[in-house]
Amino acid sequence: MSDARQQILDRIRRATSGGSVTEHPDLPRNYIRHGSLDKSGRLNLMVERLQEYDADVVECAPDDLPACMADRLHSSGKNRFVVPPGLPAEWLASGFDWKLDRGLTHAEIEACDGVVTASFAGVADSGTIVLHHSASEGRRVLTLLPDWHLCILRTSQIVETLPEYFDLCPLPPTLATYISGPSATADIEMTRIKGVHGPRFLHVILVRDDA
């Protein structure tokens, strides 16, 4: 095995010796880094893109978040929700069966009707929700098995372009999931079908914390 390693590296070194290739810092990066929209334009674009993906989007003021969440939960008709351990306790409205993820098994998570998490960032240009799987965003499996995902995104976390998200990460994440609309396939005659394996229903509450 270590033989193969040495052989491959030797072959590569023979193949690439003598070639002068641009060093990484000098690469051309004259693509668009920063967006041109103002705060409300950015928010509108994020909402528009999310809705294109059939995500359900509502906005609320920071103080109204618990009430807004309770409303979304009630109208889902579901009862048992799993949440990551870092989610603020005051967000968890009474009247629901809350499962706090402290090492739940896959079967226990699968048995939940839905999941509620925070998020790391939103990218308006592509309607992408970024999870870095911190204590409030949950383990990866949490936002995967339940069929219904309610995601809380603060408007101050929304950037316009993908490069702007990378600017938010001076330290690259070790885990990340970028969600751009619910699970989908077009494998049968290019007909887009929603909900293959991931959550079929994506709900987003945009908290206007930078108004």
Binding site: T16, E23, G127, T177, I188, V196, H197
Partner: protein, 481 residues
């Protein structure tokens, strides 16, 4: 179902393999429909991106940097991934990669493995090797599942079952899942796949995936997908094995800001694919606790050594070149006798075979360059095709049998004619007399004998004019310029 052979060592040459497919109107209709839909979506989303060319330039430069310093980036990736709890293996060829993977699965006492679509695993023909070792591979991408159950082969890099239509899927699911209750509604068929695979996701402890990108700086691996089957395989099992070509690196995390933008738009015509997953080695309490990466050479380092051909390794497998290719759009992928069909397959496959096989593929192109125009990493495919054709000819010329090959005799004669003015004039005169025998009253040649028939089989040839340009030049009034 036609017998499909995607092993370049045994597959028929492209023209022979294409013939039965060209007679299969259903398959051609399926391929044309699918490629039309993807192309239209891609065109719309590329058009809205005002910095598209800048992104392409950056993407090409990032991959060139990787290829120019591949040893350094591989060693860096290995160190980071290992430090994060992953195990890195190196495989010189397909056989080594297969035995590394089988060995890991044996150690895990695995009897089944769930798989995310990976063309690299098809390249090394992993599934038959797993089966021989008593391990059942379960494809979890909907298209791959359709192919696996239908005992068919992939025909497209991104949408491997695009040659199959809904009623064929219904028939396959009815036969193999026992689901005779299904209609041919794609929604119902997808739901059937969901429930069929759900049990597998929750019960199988080992998974195999490819890699869209590996980040040298951090040791992270990235998978882009749409369905969520990828996230299932990357999250639920105890053990995960990623099989990746050595060229799949990017130097730093930030490079993904370029690659993710160009990949989704080129591959599926989306601003971003529904799910992108990134993980680094092993994270305690989250996802697989045993993670292996198998770095595969299998001919790639020899491509790296060649100046014009090196750009082949920039490929990020978006399949935009397949969707736009006038040849692929007629034949689909199976005619190429390789898991990599279309323009990229026509240059990649013979090179992976060290030019010993698949020598007909560089000719499976009209050199129209539509592939170059859409390529997000700016691979000049026509340039590489021409270089590979030259290599094929150079090899053939050395073969003793070619001394009596009509085409090679013709080429040698042409070489001598074009080398001298009087021989050229003489040949023109003789040619005019000779071709007159075949020129019909309408001034066209409809049929030629022997080698010439290859031309007139599909098109007519205009007869030579009575006066050549040289004759006219010599006889023109001398007082005029």
């Amino acid at each position: 179902m036609m017998q499909v052979d995607l092993d370049p060592r045994t597959a028929l040459p492209f023209p022979q393999a294409a013939l039965p497919i060209l007679r299969n109107t259903q398959l051609r209709k399926n391929v044309a429909h699918a490629t039309d839909v993807i192309q239209a979506k891609r065109a719309r989303l590329v058009a809205e991106k005002t910095d598209w060319q800048a992104l392409r330039n950056a993407a090409a430069a990032i991959k060139d940097d990787v290829l120019g310093h591949l040893d350094r980036y591989l060693v860096e990736f290995e160190a980071r991934c290992t430090a994060a709890g992953g195990h890195v293996h190196w495989a010189s060829d397909a056989a080594e990669a297969r035995s590394i993977i089988v060995e890991i699965l044996r150690t895990e006492k695995a009897t089944e493995a769930i798989k995310i679509k990976t063309m690299t695993s098809a390249e090394i023909q992993l599934n038959p090797a797993l089966e021989a070792a008593g391990i059942k591979a379960v494809e979890t991408d909907l298209a791959e599942l359709i192919l696996q159950l239908g005992e068919d082969e992939p025909s497209h890099i991104v949408a491997p079952a695009l040659h199959v239509n809904r009623s064929q899927v219904r028939e396959i699911f009815a036969r193999r899942m026992g689901r005779t209750d299904l209609t041919d509604d794609p929604q119902a068929l997808t739901a059937a796949a969901r429930s069929y695979l759900r049990r597998k996701f929750l019960s199988v402890d080992t998974a195999i995936c490819g890699a869209n990108f590996m980040v040298a700086e951090t040791g992270a691996v990235t998978i882009v997908e749409s369905e969520g089957n990828g996230r299932m395989c990357l999250t639920l099992p105890r053990t995960l094995i990623a099989l990746a070509g050595i060229e799949k690196l990017v130097p730093i995390f930030r490079d993904l800001e370029v690659m993710l933008q160009v990949l989704a738009r080129s591959a599926t015509g989306e601003r971003m694919n529904p799910y992108t997953s990134l993980w680094t080695g092993v994270t305690p309490g989250d996802g697989p606790q045993n993670f292996h990466v198998v770095l595969l050479d299998n001919g790639r380092s020899s491509i790296l050594a060649r100046h014009t051909e090196r750009q082949t390794l920039r490929c990020i497998r978006c399949a935009a070149c397949q969707n736009t290719c006038p040849v692929y759009r007629q034949t689909g992928g199976h005619a190429y006798g390789s898991v990599y069909g279309g323009p990229i397959g026509a240059i990649l496959t013979p090179q992976l075979m060290h030019m010993d096989h698949a020598q007909s593929l560089p000719y499976a192109s009209s050199l129209c360059a539509a592939c170059y125009e859409v390529c997000p990493v700016k691979i000049n495919i026509p340039e590489v095709l021409i270089e590979l054709r030259a290599q094929v000819v150079d090899r053939e010329r050395k073969q003793a049998a070619r001394a009596f090959d009509l085409m090679y005799i013709g080429m040698r004669v042409a070489n001598s004619i074009f080398a001298s003015a009087w021989r050229f004039r003489l040949a023109q005169r003789l040619g005019r007399i000779g071709l007159r025998l075949f020129t019909k009253k309408d001034g066209w040649i409809h049929a030629l004998p022997s080698l010439g028939a290859r031309w007139t089989m599909t098109r007519d040839l205009r007869g030579l004019p009575d006066q050549t340009f040289r004759d006219w030049w010599a006889s023109r009034p001398k007082d005029r310029v």
